[in-house]
Amino acid sequence: MYRSEDTEPKKHRIRHWSYWKTGYILIAPVLFVLIIVNLYPSLYQIFISFMSYKLGSPISSFNGIANYQKLLTDVRFWNSLVITLKLLLYTLPVQLVLGIILAMLLDASRYHKYFLPLLVLPVVTTPVVVGYIFQYMFREDYGLISYFLRLLHLFPGYNLTANTGTVLPAIAMVDTWQWTPFVMIVLLAGLQSLPSSVYEAARVDGGSWWDIFLKITLPLLKSQILVVLLFRTVDVLRIFDTIFALTRGGPGTGSESLTIYLQLTGFRFRNLGYAGAMGMFLLVIASLFTTAFMKLAKSEGIEEEK
């Protein structure tokens, strides 16, 4: 700031050119970090994905689009994509419905303050620890879940995570245990911001409970529901920790999600070039889902993440 310019109107002084430059100085460090941890690795990955790059062997050679061609014909890769999509299908609707029910129960209770701190604990529990706790609870002989299933005469006679037919629902159950509270707290925040006068007016008009829910509550919660769906979708796409600790992708390839297969390919089979191509594929899918949600949010007139 120039002290000598005191004759200038004060308002004018903040509009000085150094003021405008400040914005760039402030974001420079973050841009630098973004380049190191995102831009450069992404570009590098594009390069790697066109290489034949085996971990441990010093020779890497240009491979053209061979890695991408391999993706198209790799049955195991398509299997992992199907598993990832199935997990989305098994988790999102259940978590959304349960989350709404729980949020409404909490909203109706005068004492929700006392339950919330306990209910959110699954959300912050280290996912890999969650995986191990459930691995223990799924044991067919002494596991707690198997025990309860026996009490209910529902026990199929095997460990749910050791059978291809039940392993995905089992993983979805673990994910639901961990993330329903997240859906719940977000929707609860939405419910509590609704003016109670809206409800009273509807009740006076003689709307049934279900009518009020469908025509008033749900539409008013639209933005929170979109936020929840967005976060849950991207988090299920990246699910890794729980599966790794629970089944390592097994039995066979029964729970091998995209992320698990990528890790195996790169760091067990040591084929970094191919894993790089898979990473590119994952980037594209995640971006597609995110863009779709953002578009949806915009068309619904919600300015997401204001």
């Binding site: 903040i14 941890v37 701190p117 996912p127 620890v129 990246r238 790794f244 204001k306």
Partner: protein
């Protein structure tokens, strides 16, 4: 029906207590197992009442490098969180108060880091880390974790900074404060809650991070969650020890959460849902 009307609040408390118990059951069960002697773990039906012991905790502390992993976890997550909060505060201030060309694009870019699976770019991270000698080092991992923390730090703090009336900094600047000075003297103190909330959220995310940490660390800088893998070699044989290790691995997180309870909704949704 009249009974329901009359005791509505009581019924809700009963239902919510049952639900809460169900959600806590896995954690309670893990905790009980961590206090069990080996012979009490493998019983059918499962034992709810037994003589508790701290043997398992002592075993973990004595026989494994638990304290080393704990110090790795603390050093890595605290330093990564601190860096992220500071960088994020600067950027959030710059992006919400100054005219920056392409600021929308930059914000979407930052957000995309939260949306994309971190494992999607683990291959280049791994090769870069090896090439520049940061593989299996605490500082290398703390830098990589910025990729996880920066979106939280920038977006969350933007939502806090926007709540501060612009007039306050403007009057500071009229008093002769430079914009950077105004940031340190006016904005940061007013954003104290946001700083704290962001720090805790980054801490939780860095502490819990698993795939990148697993791939980018070896024996030297392994964190607590990754060290859990070593129990898996004797599958199902040492549940007591394993659960004791688990409990000690999540205890710090539970403490962070207790501190940040109020900010959790906003933190987890990067400031888009405000309680």
């Amino acid at each position: 029906m009249r009974f329901v009307q009359k005791h509505r609040q009581l019924l809700l408390v009963v239902i919510l207590s049952v639900v809460t118990f169900l959600f806590l059951l896995p954690l309670i069960w893990a905790f009980l197992t961590s206090l069990k002697l080996h012979r009490d773990v493998f019983t059918f039906p499962p034992k709810w009442i037994f003589t508790p012991t701290i043997e398992n905790y002592l075993y973990v502390l004595r026989e494994t490098d638990y304290l080393k992993f704990m110090s790795n976890s603390i050093v890595i997550s605290f330093s990564s969180a601190a860096m992220s909060v500071f960088l994020g505060a600067l950027a959030a201030f710059g992006l919400s108060r100054f005219r920056v060309k392409g600021s929308k694009t930059i914000l979407m870019w930052i957000l995309s880091l939260r949306m994309i699976p971190p494992i999607a770019i683990v291959v280049p991270f791994y090769l870069m880390a090896i090439r520049i000698g940061l593989y299996d080092t605490r500082s290398g991992l703390a830098i990589v974790l910025l990729a996880i923390n920066v979106p939280i730090a920038v977006w969350l703090q933007m939502s806090y900074i926007r709540e501060i009336p612009k007039a306050i900094e403007e009057s500071a600047m009229l008093e002769g404060c430079s914009p950077i000075g105004a940031f340190f003297r006016v904005v940061l103190p007013l954003e104290a809650t946001g700083l704290f909330a962001t720090f805790i959220m980054c801490l939780i995310f860095s502490w819990n991070e698993f795939p990148l940490t697993m791939i980018l660390t070896g024996n030297v800088s392994k964190t607590l969650p990754v060290s859990m893998l070593s129990w898996d070699t004797q599958r199902g044989l040492q549940w007591g020890n394993m659960m004791a290790a688990s409990m000690m691995a999540i205890a710090p997180i539970l403490i962070f959460t207790a501190l940040a309870q109020k900010y959790l909704v906003r933190g987890l949704t990067l400031g888009s849902v405000v309680d």
